[in-house]
């Protein structure tokens, strides 16, 4: 069987998603029998020459150069993966979309004229995406599932339900209904395995919105746990405030 040609690209992000690929230590040696890393500047000096079967794009688009680059990657890749929250929703850095570009630049740089930056967006704003892999970072098992899908020529099985299902599967007590703590689990996309609630911390929503969340009702429930309206706005704005699902509650 011919190996799948894979590339990993970094846009505006923190490299944590790339680190999570390297976290699949157990699977890496076998994985390399199925795929070939054709381009991944963080770990190899190889230049990008051949077109790709699978392109993982980590990070958001936030400069004109990145718009050009993401379009080129789209043209030269069979399967384009929006890899992690920044590529899917904009993640935490999208909080800055709620202040003006001018304000952000002036606040940070004495000479904003040297800076080339535009509003921060997920990559689907500019190109068609084949697979959206949410998470900050996406769990390594979901990364392997995407590769598996590509190898077997089928859609990857990714979850689109809420974190609550994962809590139930783990037999966790409910932090929201039993302890009245402000947990974002009911609207948050699963995939992490309910890491935070299992460790006595409420879900903060780092996998972005699940499919068709009821954000309005979630906001009401959060108020009932004792949060202020400003607190609720901050919760929705944190990981995916710029998405249509959360925009109203985040503004």
């Amino acid at each position: 069987m011919e190996k799948l040609k894979c590339g990993v690209f970094k846009f505006t992000g923190c490299a944590g998603c790339q680190m999570e690929i390297l976290r699949a230590e157990d699977a890496l040696p076998q994985l390399l029998e199925l795929i070939e890393i054709t381009y991944w500047p963080m770990v190899t000096t190889k230049d990008w020459e051949e077109d790709l079967d699978v392109a993982f794009v980590e990070g958001s688009v936030s400069t004109p150069r990145e718009i050009r680059e993401v379009k080129e990657i789209r043209e030269r890749s069979r399967i384009l993966v929006a890899f992690g929250d920044c590529a899917v929703t904009g993640c935490i850095p999208s909080i800055r979309n709620f202040i003006t570009q001018r304000e952000a630049e002036k606040a940070v740089y004495p000479n904003p004229i040297w800076i080339e930056s535009i509003g921060l967006r997920g990559i689907s704003e500019y190109v068609d995406v084949d697979v959206s892999l949410p998470g900050c970072p996406p769990h390594r098992n979901t990364i392997l599932e995407v590769v598996k899908g590509a190898v077997l020529k089928r859609r990857p099985y990714l979850r689109h339900h809420s974190v609550c299902v994962e809590c139930k599967l783990k037999d966790n007590g409910c932090l929201l209904t039993e302890e009245k703590r402000p947990c974002m689990g009911p609207v948050t996309n699963a995939g992490c395995g309910a890491i935070c609630p299992s460790l006595n911390r409420v879900c903060e929503g780092c996998y972005g919105p699940m499919s068709a969340p009821n954000a309005e009702s979630m906001a009401q429930i959060l108020l009932e746990t004792g949060l202020t309206e400003e607190d609720v706005k901050r919760k929705f704005r944190k990981y995916a405030g710029w998405t249509p699902e959360y925009r109203k509650e985040a503004t």
Binding site: T12, I92, A107
Partner: protein, 428 residues
């Protein structure tokens, strides 16, 4: 003949997006050397204003996917400083355990995956592993050990979740602590062999004396807490960082350049730490360092990877000690919100990581000032290039470019971090 320009468009095997530009005059003199940083800015210091004290560690973690632990702990300690919270000794120990676990994985990644291919003549570790399968295996296992320890404490290794203001949301069981301790004991020989590797490597003979800066304390190897110290005599509380260090924006870099006020550029990171805190290293780490050719103080940037390997030996030792006294069961300290300023410096794998927050009476930030390590090193990298390049200008452009990339890799820059690390002036 026009001016000769040697450049690297996109430095590979480092985190983030940067390049190198060398300008050589017609007379064959190096006119300028620039480390060009084109990583897009993310404006953390702007959007972290207006956020609440209990989520700052979570936001700050996202500055960097390789050193999220250091950003979390800097943010937590700065917030605790502002609120006047004193955490327990047990919390301090677990935080140090977590910081060292991240240091181990980051350093091993840097040494094995980013640095060694240069010395073994491969484009990446996978190619090198063709002839040296042991290297890939050992590199993966040591990296995994660090990551697994972070995950044991924090739920996951990238952006861990259990460290909160006042303490931790959970604790490690005795069984897990013992199993991890056993793995660390077994890994000691691998860490010593990693240091030994450097005896065989053809490390470029290049040294340039410059100021080294790290945090320091007399009683232990400083990672999360200490005084700001330097080889040129700085010794001051962490809140006085800005009294000594200034930053300037330069046109060719989205990461700012730092200098010590009224002096020059400086170095932060493993080599600076080992030089300043050599006495506090564990005895076998000191012994290993000497036997592999580290001279203290050592001013060769090409021996930074060796300093990383030495720190891995030390961290494994200290992690074993801390785990011996596990488990700890404690609830996070209760917090009373008040207005104020808080400061903290931790040692990220790449060096001094300074956070400063101003909170209002509601515990909401009104000002955020962050200085991760890599931006503090940019100017020093350029100063090194300016001395490294002239004697090798008779080489082919490609060889010169390769040597320069090796230098930058020795710094192990974390470019994403550095570009989100710029001073903000008060917004409201």
């Amino acid at each position: 003949m026009s001016e000769r320009k040697i450049n690297v468009d996109y430095i590979s095997r480092v985190e983030g997006q940067g390049g190198i530009d060398l300008y050589v005059t017609r007379d064959g003199e190096l006119r300028d050397a620039k480390v060009r940083i084109f990583e897009p800015p993310r404006f953390f210091e702007a959007f972290m204003v207006g956020r609440k004290y209990d989520e700052l560690m979570e936001l700050a973690a996202r500055i960097c996917g390789i050193c999220p632990v250091s950003h979390e702990i800097s943010a937590l300690r700065a917030v605790e400083d502002a609120l006047g919270v004193e955490v327990s000794e047990a919390t301090k120990r677990v935080r140090k355990l977590m910081a060292m676990s991240a240091l181990i994985s980051s350093h091993v990644l840097s040494v094995y995956f980013l640095t060694l291919p240069d010395y073994f003549g491969g484009r990446d570790l996978i190619e090198v592993a063709g002839e040296n399968p042991g290297l890939l295996k050992r590199g993966l296992e040591l990296k995994r050990l660090g990551n697994d320890l972070t995950e044991l404490i924090g739920g996951r290794s990238v952006h861990p979740v259990t460290a909160v203001v006042g303490g931790f949301t959970n604790s490690i069981s005795k069984g897990d602590a013992d199993a991890m301790r056993k793995r660390l004991i077994e890994a000691k020989s691998d860490s010593l062999e990693t240091v030994d590797l450097f005896k065989e490597l053809d490390i470029p003979e290049f040294a340039r004396k410059c100021e080294h800066v790290a945090i320091s304390r007399p009683d232990s190897y400083a990672i999360n807490e200490g005084q700001l110290a330097s080889t040129e005599g700085i010794y001051a509380p962490q809140r006085e960082y800005r009294r000594f260090i200034k930053e300037d924006q330069v046109p060719h870099s989205t990461g700012k350049h730092s200098t010590v006020k009224e002096r020059e550029s400086f170095l932060v990171g493993p080599l600076a730490r080992v030089n300043i805190n050599f006495k506090q290293l564990s005895p076998d780490a000191r012994e290993a360092a000497k036997s592999a050719g580290l001279r203290v103080p050592d001013y060769s940037p090409f021996r930074s990877p060796l300093a990383r390997a030495v720190e891995v030996v030390h961290c494994i030792n200290e992690c074993i000690e801390i785990l011996e006294a596990m488990p700890y069961h404690e609830e996070p300290v209760q917090v009373k919100i008040r207005a104020g300023d808080g400061y903290a410096i931790t040692e990220a794998p790449r060096g001094v990581n300074y956070h400063h927050y101003t909170l209002n009476r509601g515990g909401i930030t009104t000002k955020v000032d962050l200085v991760p390590p890599t931006c503090q090193n940019y100017r020093n990298m350029e100063m090194d290039l300016k001395e490294l390049v002239p004697p090798i200008l008779d080489l082919q452009d490609e060889e010169i470019a390769q040597r320069c990339q090796m230098l930058i890799r020795a710094y192990d820059p974390c470019i994403s971090c550095s570009v989100h690390a710029i001073r903000i002036h008060e917004v409201k």
